[in-house]
Assembly symmetry: D2
Homo-oligomer: 349 residues x 4
């Protein structure tokens, strides 16, 4: 039975693109009351002024950004979203949890279960290794039961979501060789955040397509962790991110070696269908269509298509999602829905 | 008779988009030897590394950015291009001229003849009012004779060029009411320079069309100065700049009231044809085509078309240019060609 | 008191961008049941396949495009939206109305009250001049009372909406000179429809900004009709449309001469505030912000800002809207809400 | 010793984007006289009107498109470029060669050596299998000697160039496993040609990133032919093309398994350096930079960078080129230069 009681929610660090999406999603959420939104640099300004698109919500006119502490937030909010940079989120999560709030963190601070892996990829010791063990990886299609009960959810990154959802069911069913995985990902520029850097100027991104971070990207840590869990063995993948001149969207093309030959595409499609038959935001495309970022932009859906190449024996899987929604804010709200017992799609259609 | 002796040239402050264009144009110029390129932040790096597009020029591999003083530059270069921010150019121009170099300044520092107007629009006293009087406004289609002899050329801005070239012949011929001028301009994002500011991020400019700086833009000072000279009376115009999601290009749409009725478009086209019959970079379009930024991008051309609206009696003139070439670096090289007695088109086709 | 009874609705000719928006809006509308969607070329296909974005609506999986006649549609639907080309809509409107349906037409077929003006701008006789007189111009902010009672609503075009909403209150109050109006409009490419024409290829529109249809555009007929009604006298305006490389959005910059001097901007802002105080989709910006298409894309809002130029005495008004929503499908649904007695914002926030 | 005699050249079928590039390149070529340009649909129009960018070349004002036959062309031109659709080029090549002209074909008609492979990929018998055997594959970095002497050159496609240049030296040196090759390619929309199709409208491509033609693309035939020659054994590769919203450019990311471990990147970079030390248009990037389409757009260069991933043992090679220049018209002119004994870079810098 779905819950319909309203929840008081807050967003800490809402000055970036993900924060803006959260503000928009939570303002219009049927069961959420947005009680606080913080940002040091925007403190004092009403939401409606900073984010004109929210201007029609009555709350956006009265609610102002504050510079409140974790303690103050925890007094008024039951669920708190952290849209903070890596390394800063952990400082807020501890006192919020201690004060009884439930926390959904959109940074990478709690995505890695192993403190050593964290240090390897992020270059410093984790401040709260106990929380690392407690945190639930917030991929609702995979971990819905643990998310429901979680105090602390680590909402996955945009690249990982586009790679994990197509692959986890296949690794669980041993349908693909775990060491054969190559992920070629194309990301819209909003993935770089609202940061004043030359590299992300219009003039530098327009008419430009370019790889970056080759060969070792930080997101590999959480991707390989989750794939290894699914495969029940350690694995490493090839992952190359590219920047493409669109605002929103990630398109990932996966190259895989199937473990058995004969009707590979059918077997893989069947595994995905079975895994996601109850998942409202996974859209499996059939034989006619291929994923396209413009078909998911502005939504919480992920599109997935499978093709088999009989010439090479490989399977190619392609996925498309909106990096700010299914890859960030939308996914976090989907977790919020599960945590509160709401319809999984509440506020997201 | 055209000169064919080579000239030694230098660029001071070549870290921005205009500086990059100058580097490219002067490297491939048939009569120029680029002997020095300065930039505090890039000092020590070879041109080819900073600007990969220049990599095939032998000079780009050996020539490195320096942090040389005006004095050092003047020892080796006969003509010096200043691609510096407003207010900084003047500090270099004085010692360069004193040391015998000729200077082409791409900033606004020497475009205004009247020191009081300069203060009104730029908010501070001009440091070298005598040079202000000496400087020649570098619009080759209008001032070719004085440019040829000039020691100091103030190369016009991108908006002014797109407005002045269509209007000056009409004001000289008294064909339009000088107080009726409305200029609606659309600029590509490179016009904002290579500056790390949130407003010019891809994510802020893509899928965005927006006016800015309404109603008083700094470029008005030089626009109205030059139009008033042509009209032989003071005038003021309406000018609204907009930012559009293209890298290069300015499109200006001008709304004018003709002074006489009856065959307005024909009379105006005739005046433009007469004025620019010897101008290699002015492309007057006839009745079939309208200007389009993509037809001038990457070139030093300006496209101009004239239409008369018999319903309202107004004349509409539209122009398109590449803001970094005809609106900046290309125009400066065109001045350089005149100053040195080269073909006006040398290195620009 | 707002109505909450559900209405059965149909869309005729839903293969273009506007049709797609209507499908999306009506599928998620809280009070509408979409019972039929027609398209000759798409007949037989389920909505979800043609428009992947609608795939999650249960109705999109079962409802298929048909090639039904007006008579068949009128049997099942109470309100019918026509998303047909100019000249075709009139053929459907007559039998639908005769069969008792109410009709919202998104073409230009019923926007012109005067059959002679229609012939002047569209080049042929109107087929149903009696309906021309009956039809209500569907601008909800101006004609809400007559729209509520209308059998036939002519939903305005995208350019007209962006020009009429800022100007009508000012002409009614005699605040601006009716013959001074210059409208410079920039349109996203979706305004050209889903048509296979070279001019609208990515390669022709990208990095391109260009005027078109200078000086006489068909939309002038309805713009001048509505402005003349507001001004209580015939008037003509200057209107120049331009194509800019964005998918959605229109930005219009208006140049006006105020009738009285002294606090022009304040007086004009006050008139707009008074006129639109009850209009949920008009967002008047204050002195700090200017309209930006990206702030209204995907929404039914129009942003309007006013500036006075003390140098020239002119007033500049800028507006931004989504051409497919406030400029087409959203506005039609807003009319539908009024016609059925629903909340004006139902299904549109 | 380089030749400096002028050559008379013609272009057959110059109405597409590649034809336009050829017109532009040959008009400004120091040793070429463009004597004829044909297009059925454009016959009678001067070049300057159809392609405004060429307007300043005196020849563009006088030269008009014609609908001449191969025989007529062969009377005036020594070298003829065919910019025709696949299947049509062969009809012109035969009579041109018979009449003594040399031919550079930019279609796929002569790229495949094996008539059976041609039928497999293009679905019909080849009309002139003898010419198929004679034709030289026009990749100047690989086949410069045979190109010099060729009567008939088959200029490679854009995808093949971006894949072949990085791989051929490595396969020749047995540095990579020939069956491990995965090529993930991103193409700008101009690659689809100037065709009025819905799929290539601005509205369909903007904010869109999508794969297509998975898993078997026609270009595979020539790619695998040339790679197999280099490897001295038959091989098949994985190739996935994607469409990205830029006008020009191809970025290819290659995933490879090296045959030996230990300093893989160094060994591969060394092989590329050795292979291309005399190739003026191959720009090997070092360890600091990665390819970017904007750095090659508008030029005939290809950028290549190599990275080794010690975690997976794979080598990743990335290349960027302008699909209309190094991937089409520029490459054809490069062949022309070799065929005539000109500097390889003549007219291309």
């Amino acid at each position: 039975m779905t819950n319909t009681e309203r929840a008081k929610v807050a967003i800490i660090g809402a000055s970036g693109y993900t924060g803006e999406e959260l503000v928009r999603l939570l303002l219009r959420h049927p069961h959420a009351d947005l009680v606080a939104v913080t940002s040091r640099q925007l403190a004092g300004q009403p939401l409606a002024e900073v984010y004109p698109r929210t201007g029609h919500h009555p709350a956006a006119k009265t609610l102002r950004f504050t510079d409140s502490s974790a303690g103050e937030i925890a007094e008024s909010a039951q669920v708190v979203f952290l849209a903070l940079p890596h390394g800063v989120a952990v400082e807020f999560a501890e006192p919020l949890l201690a004060a009884g709030a439930r926390v959904i963190d959109l940074s990478a601070d709690f995505r890695i279960k192993n403190a050593e892996t964290y240090r390897e990829f992020y270059g410093h010791e984790h401040r709260a290794p106990a929380l690392l063990r407690e945190a639930v990886y917030g991929l609702p299609e995979i971990y819905s039961q643990t998310i429901r009960a979680a105090r602390l959810v680590a909402s996955p990154g945009c690249y990982p979501t586009s790679i994990l959802l197509p692959l986890i069911p296949l690794l669980r069913e041993k349908l693909i060789d775990p060491w054969s995985i190559i992920a070629n990902s194309l990301s819209g520029v909003s993935g770089a955040g609202r940061k004043a850097e030359i590299d992300y100027l219009f003039t530098e991104c327009n008419e430009s397509v370019r790889p970056y971070g080759v060969p070792k990207h930080r997101h590999l840590a959480e991707i390989e962790q989750e794939l290894s869990i699914a495969a029940e063995r350690a694995l490493q993948i090839q992952f190359t991110p590219h920047l493409v001149p669109i605002t929103r969207g990630i398109l990932t093309t996966l190259y895989l070696t199937p473990t058995r030959s004969g009707s590979e595409a059918g077997r893989i499609e069947a595994a995905l269908s079975a895994a996601y038959s109850e998942s409202p935001f996974v859209r499996l495309l059939g034989r006619k269509n291929l994923p396209d970022t413009k078909n998911v932009a502005g939504s919480n859906f992920i599109e997935i298509a499978v093709r088999h190449d009989p010439r090479t024996g490989r399977v190619i899987i392609m996925s498309a999602e909106d990096n700010l929604l299914k890859g960030a804010g939308g996914q976090a709200v989907q977790c919020f829905n599960l945590m509160c017992g709401y319809e999984e799609t509440a506020g997201l259609l």
